[in-house]
């Protein structure tokens, strides 16, 4: 187990390095420097600016400097927001994204697993149809359609909640975004949980448990639940990545000042360093998360031996 852990950690490092390098090179392959603006600056000022951002050095030195900065947790300076470093921007945006995404993930895990269990145990019941409908909907009604529709219904027609915006972690502004993300995640988790539990319930050891005369509750909770949860655990990695996608959309739809909004704005403004910094940050986060999921999986599944 320890050697497997070490191997997985070691293999995660090249992935991150490749992504960082490719993104960095792509960024520098683009024509036009960051200071080619409409406003003409004098040669001396330009030279100073370039010296400040190390643009006068050869590419490999710039790259090494960037890597060194990354290792020290410094994502560099933003080219568009003057006086702001990427770190500052991230520090102000990350709590918003975490509050929304984290609570949505927690809620959807609980609701999704619960719905999945009920749907699997009572096939063709109302809950089952609901889970199947939600699962179908999740793949056909994307978040950027569902979000605006939710705004029309709950903010414009019913006037229960604000249509968007953000005010100091006030709950009113968080309900709709969290609900949207939760619905999308529940559709996946519920479907997977339902499928895997149905499969587990047909396996031999469940028949044995039933044959021993155990009540259904004990069979499900003590015997079936753990193996049935494995696919859901392995789903966490892809789910984290798709959560980023949903976060981009959610934060745009509800105009929340989170990481997603920052990326979209940065890309719209062609703020290269900001986008690069955020891509690097989120890649490191997802690769780490995938690593943890893999390790958790190896730990949970007795059939996996390394």
């Amino acid at each position: 187990m320890w050697s497997y852990t070490l191997r997985r950690i070691l293999s995660a490092i090249p992935t991150m390095l490749v992504v960082i390098t490719v993104c960095y090179l792509l960024l520098h392959a683009t024509p036009g420097g960051p200071f080619d603006s409409d406003r003409k600056v004098s040669a001396a000022v330009l030279a100073n600016l370039q010296a400040k951002y190390h643009l006068d050095l050869p590419l490999w030195q710039q790259y090494l400097l960037y890597l060194k900065g990354l290792l020290q947790g410094d994502l560099g300076a933003s080219f568009r927001y003057a006086d702001w470093s990427v770190n500052d921007l991230v520090a102000s945006a990350l709590p918003v994204s975490l509050a929304i995404g984290g609570s949505a993930l927690l809620l959807s895990a609980v609701i999704g697993v619960a719905l999945g269990i009920v749907a699997a145990l009572r096939q063709n019941s109302l809950v089952d149809y609901f889970v199947m409908l939600l699962g179908n909907m999740g793949s056909a009604v994307p978040s950027f359609v569902l979000g605006p529709v939710m705004i029309i219904v709950f903010a414009i027609v019913l006037k229960w909640l604000p249509a968007g915006g953000w005010h100091d972690f006030e709950l009113r502004f968080m309900i709709l975004p969290i609900a949207l993300l939760t619905i999308i995640n529940v559709s996946t988790i519920g479907r997977v949980m339902r499928g895997s539990l149905i499969e587990v319930m047909h396996s031999n050891f469940i028949r044995t448990a039933r044959a021993k005369g155990l009540p259904t509750r004990v069979v499900v909770l003590r015997h079936a639940l753990k193996p049935a949860l494995l696919p859901v655990v392995s789903l966490l990695g892809p789910l984290a990545i798709s959560s980023i996608t949903s976060a981009l959309v959610t934060e745009t739809v509800f105009s929340l000042p989170g990481l997603g909004k920052l990326i979209v704005n940065g890309a719209g403004n062609r703020d290269y360093t900001l986008v690069l910094g955020l891509v690097v940050l989120i890649t490191v986060l997802t690769v780490t998360l995938n690593l943890l999921v893999d390790l958790a999986y190896a730990w949970l599944d007795p059939k996996i031996r390394y």
């Binding site: 090249p14 992935t15 950027f144 414009i156 990326i263 986008v275 997802t286």
Partner: protein
């Protein structure tokens, strides 16, 4: 031991290859999992077609999808409005028959129906092109890895794993930020991040097919490698390829729509369903139909692809029955 031949070789040598494959087919028929459907020597494909045609949801979806495609191709020629010309007398009007703005107009007075159809052309074209390229890449990658095996396989699949770990939409955003937002660049960007599923599936299938008993039997009978590939491997690959292609199409269309919705995909004056939904979302408080029509069109299309995919999977994957 000159002249000595093992008994079983002499025996099987008395049978012609046709007779042996007949025997092999009989053994396959005797498999309890597939005994009903594969009875009277029906081929895999005619059997699959029969099963697919019985699936009502898939057939209806196919019809609806054909209708949408046809409308997108022909509609803009037939309708009296251009997608980018403004009707100054009818701005932001709801759906009506006045001036034949059947789906209303947007805030610039452009006919929504024509814009939806033109946007559909772009969305479907991106979906088609990106699917073709990513499916081709995935098949070649997966089949190579599966056939060659060993270190090459390990390395190629490591790259796939790497691609999976990357938050693709972010890199896609980075790519369109850098490369620009031309139509073909959007297609390229989407392709780069949607071939891995196919590569994985094809590789797995190739690996498992290589060690199948009937491939071994064919080999033992002296069937040549190309003939094994085309007679046994390819038809069995085709099933998963078809299934995963129908899964890829909606995914690709969705990615294009997300990019466009975020303002990072197809650019004005050109339009796509994602762009139209973004426009609609901006104006939904006063003119909700501008959002609802393209959103409904996109959702219906995605539903159709999903149902067709499900139908094909049920029809082509005998294990799933």
């Amino acid at each position: 031991m000159p002249g000595w031949t093992p008994r079983f070789v002499t025996e099987s040598a008395m049978l012609t290859p046709e007779e042996i494959s007949g025997l092999v087919a009989k053994v396959a028929d005797a498999d309890p999992r597939q005994n009903t459907a594969l009875a009277a020597g029906r081929s895999l494909w005619s059997d699959a077609r029969r099963r697919f045609l019985r699936n009502k949801a898939a057939i209806i979806s196919l019809g609806v999808l054909a209708l949408i495609c046809l409308a997108c191709v022909i509609g803009p020629w037939v309708l009296p409005h251009a997608f980018d010309s403004a009707d100054w007398e009818a701005m932001s009007i709801p759906p009506s028959f006045i001036n034949s703005h059947f789906w209303g107009t947007d805030d610039a007075g452009r006919d929504l129906l024509v814009r939806c159809l033109i946007g559909g052309r772009i969305s479907l074209a991106v979906g088609l092109l990106a699917t073709i390229s990513s499916v081709t890449l995935g098949i070649v990658w997966g089949a190579t890895a599966g056939f060659v095996g060993g270190k090459v396989d390990a390395f190629m699949m490591r790259i796939v794993d790497m691609m999976y770990a990357i938050p693709y939409l972010l890199i896609a955003i980075l790519l369109v930020t850098i490369l620009g937002r031309e139509f073909y660049l959007v297609v390229l960007t989407i392709t780069v991040f949607s071939w891995m599923d196919m590569a994985r599936v094809v590789r797995g299938q190739t690996l498992s097919l290589r060690s199948m008993e009937y491939v071994e039997a064919a080999r033992a009978m002296g069937v040549s490698t190309p003939r094994i590939i085309f007679r046994h491997i390819v038809p069995n690959l085709l099933g998963v390829v078809v299934i995963y292609t129908t899964v890829t199409v909606p995914g690709v269309i969705l990615t294009e729509s997300v990019l466009s919705f975020l303002g990072l995909g197809i650019q004005e004056p050109m339009t796509s369903w994602g762009v139209l939904i973004q426009d609609g979302a901006k104006a939904m408080e006063v003119t909700p139909w501008i959002l609802l029509f393209p959103a409904a069109l996109l959702s219906i299309t995605l539903y159709c692809f999903n149902f067709i995919g499900d139908g094909l999977r049920d029809a082509l994957d005998p294990k799933e029955r």
